[in-house]
């Protein structure tokens, strides 16, 4: 038996695993076109495109989508600024408690979302902060920072410290060095981290449940919609959009970071 060719059994098992993960997704897509609106009936009695038009004309969908996009964009922005600064501090300088800070930053992604959610909710209550757009953003930023931080810290570690000294030696002040040397070297890592953060924020349910007031982000709206037996395929249409919106940036992040392994570690 040669070691570089998988046996038939292994191939089948792998295929079964992949199908198990992705067939249900396909089901969601199929139901977006069904003519039956009260329940999910298999096989679908007929196919129609009308739900796309219905979805398009529902203002609550647009509101939820817009809220989700705004929350994701702003959380990602906050995460990119704070995550990069934190990564720079942890990887560039030595100070007391450096490892602790590194751990504390990563912790929110290891914690179950429900814990983060409850914790934030009690904290907001205690501080008498009314639930709003900004409380959702804060909740999302806690885990978005981790993604950006992890990407940036890995890139910083692979970037030679003497690059910064070389830039200053050649006459560049701190700002010029950041603009011309640091930023180009971490840009792809930041972009990848930002895209992942955006995708995470866009489909987040648990933390949002605890930190949102009356507003519904898109995933929350879908959850509410599923228990109401009215125009069910609308949810599926939205689900398709969510899958595409989250999938594209993740794919983009994958391609962006793939080819750059050799870029930043070069000076070592």
């Amino acid at each position: 038996m040669s070691s570089d060719r998988a046996s038939l059994g292994l191939k089948l098992a792998a295929a079964a695993g992949l199908l198990f993960m992705h067939l249900p997704l396909l089901l969601i897509f199929v139901y977006a076109f069904t003519t039956e609106e009260k329940s999910y009936q298999w096989p679908p009695p007929g196919f129609t495109l009308k739900w796309f038009a219905v979805t398009w004309n529902r203002p609550d969908v647009w509101e939820a989508l817009s809220l989700s996009l705004r929350v994701a964009a702003i959380s990602t922005l906050i995460a990119m600024v704070l995550g990069t600064l934190c990564a720079a501090a942890v990887s560039r300088s030595r100070f007391f408690g450096r490892e602790t800070i590194s751990l504390l930053v990563i912790l929110p992604i290891a914690l179950p979302g429900i814990i983060t959610g409850i914790a934030l909710r009690s904290a907001f209550n205690l501080a008498e902060i009314p639930f709003s757009f900004w409380t959702i953003v804060l909740g999302h930023a806690t885990f978005c920072i981790v993604v950006v931080y992890n990407n940036a810290v890995a890139r910083f570690r692979r970037t030679s410290a003497s690059l910064i000294e070389a830039s200053m030696d050649l006459g560049a002040d701190s700002f010029q060095t950041f603009r011309h040397v640091i930023l180009p070297n971490i840009a792809t890592a930041l972009l990848a981290g930002g895209m992942l953060a955006f995708a995470l924020s866009f489909d987040e349910v648990i933390v949002t449940t605890f930190t949102a007031g009356q507003q519904a982000t898109l995933p929350i709206w879908m959850l509410e919609e599923l228990v109401r037996p009215r125009q069910r395929p609308v949810t599926n249409v939205v689900a398709m959009v969510v899958v595409l919106v989250t999938f594209l940036p993740i794919l983009g992040a994958y391609y962006l970071t793939r080819g750059t392994e050799s870029v930043a570690g070069q000076g070592k």
């Binding site: 030679s160 003497s162 690059l163 000294e165 070389a166 830039s167 200053m168 030696d169 050649l170 006459g171 560049a172 002040d173 010029q176 011309h180 040397v181 180009p184 070297n185 050799s262 870029v263 930043a264 070069q266 000076g267 070592k268």
Partner: protein, 328 residues
């Protein structure tokens, strides 16, 4: 003549560690100055103090008569060739070389023209379009050199620039660097732990040990007339005779140095026992044991080597025994 770089009582301490301890240096304009020492001896810290990456804990640093304390690296007319070259990986060769000119606000055409001229100077014309990752170690080294030289620095700092190159390339680069320095007339300050490199290239050598300069002088001075046992041992592996032995030989109670190639076998002289002998091509390295010291001799081709363990007598010209001034 103006001093290019002058240290007066400069110290750099990290907590209890005295990386540089009360160092005085006076480097003349146009000089090729080597700072030689083992790792951790403070030579690289001194270089970083000149570049501005470190600030002194005490003392004064002047660059061409101007006080340099507190000046950041980007306000000094000093450029550095880094040990790991530190080429910007995201820029191609021409933009690497032109980086300093770009920061200085020079137009694209002008800076590319000057960068190309600098690349020609280091024998890399036409390499501008490549990425640093596509270059060999020796080529990267030249790009790093061009990037520093294009700034027309008053002082060029070189931090073990040849350390990462293989032996043949290193020897070629030594000669090129020396020629380049003569041609440009720029003050070169060169840090190395390789005594051969320091001796062959520099006008003057400062030998560092434990954060202090133990001897400064022309290569011949440092090599033939070491002032302290450390220099005798580190620069060219001289024999160091303890004060007791020197006293018996010369009547003066001091450390003395004796070059291995000055020692010969004789019918009469210092009694010794041959411990070991190893063949090194042009000569044989023989280790002798005397009453109070071990003496290494490089015996030229043609000398009959007695069997190991034989009792022999060692002799040398009186002028080759050099009395040191320092105690340690």
């Amino acid at each position: 003549m103006t001093s290019a770089v002058r240290f007066s009582g400069v110290s750099r301490h990290y907590g209890a560690v005295r990386a540089v301890d009360a160092v005085d240096i006076d480097i003349a304009e146009g000089e090729f100055f080597a700072m030689l020492g083992p790792s951790g001896s403070g030579k690289t810290t001194c270089l970083r103090l000149i570049a501005g990456f470190e600030q002194p804990t005490a003392g004064r640093i002047e660059i061409f008569g101007q006080p340099a304390q507190g000046l950041p690296p980007y306000r000094r007319q000093v450029n550095t060739v880094f040990q790991d070259y530190a080429l910007f990986p995201h820029l191609n060769v021409i933009d690497n070389v032109a980086y300093g000119l770009m920061i200085a606000g020079r137009g694209k055409a002008e800076r590319h023209r000057e960068a190309e001229a600098a690349l020609e100077m280091v024998a890399l014309p036409g390499y501008g379009g490549r990425k640093p990752s596509q270059l060999s170690g020796g080529q990267r080294q030249r790009v790093a050199l061009a990037r520093a030289l294009v700034m027309r620095p008053k002082v060029l700092l070189l931090d073990e620039p040849l350390g990462a190159l293989d032996l043949k390339l290193r020897e070629a680069m030594q000669e090129e660097l020396k020629a380049l320095q003569r041609r440009l007339g720029i003050t070169f300050v060169f840090v190395t732990h390789d005594q051969g490199e320091a001796l062959s290239m520099a006008d003057r050598v400062a030998v560092f040990n434990q954060g202090q300069i133990v001897q400064v002088g022309a290569p011949q001075d440092v090599y033939y007339r070491p002032q302290v046992p450390f220099v005798a041992d580190f620069v060219g592996s001289s024999n160091v005779l303890p004060p007791a032995l020197t006293e018996r030989l010369t009547g003066t109670r001091r450390f003395a140095s004796l070059r291995p190639e000055a020692v010969r076998l004789a019918a009469d002289g210092l009694p010794a026992v041959l411990r070991s002998a190893s063949f090194h091509g042009a000569n044989t390295r023989a280790v002798f044991e005397t009453e109070d010291a071990q003496i290494v001799a490089l015996l030229p081709k043609g000398v009959e080597i007695p069997p190991e363990g034989s009792a022999v007598h060692l002799a040398w010209d009186a002028a080759d025994l050099h009395l040191m001034t320092g105690a340690s």
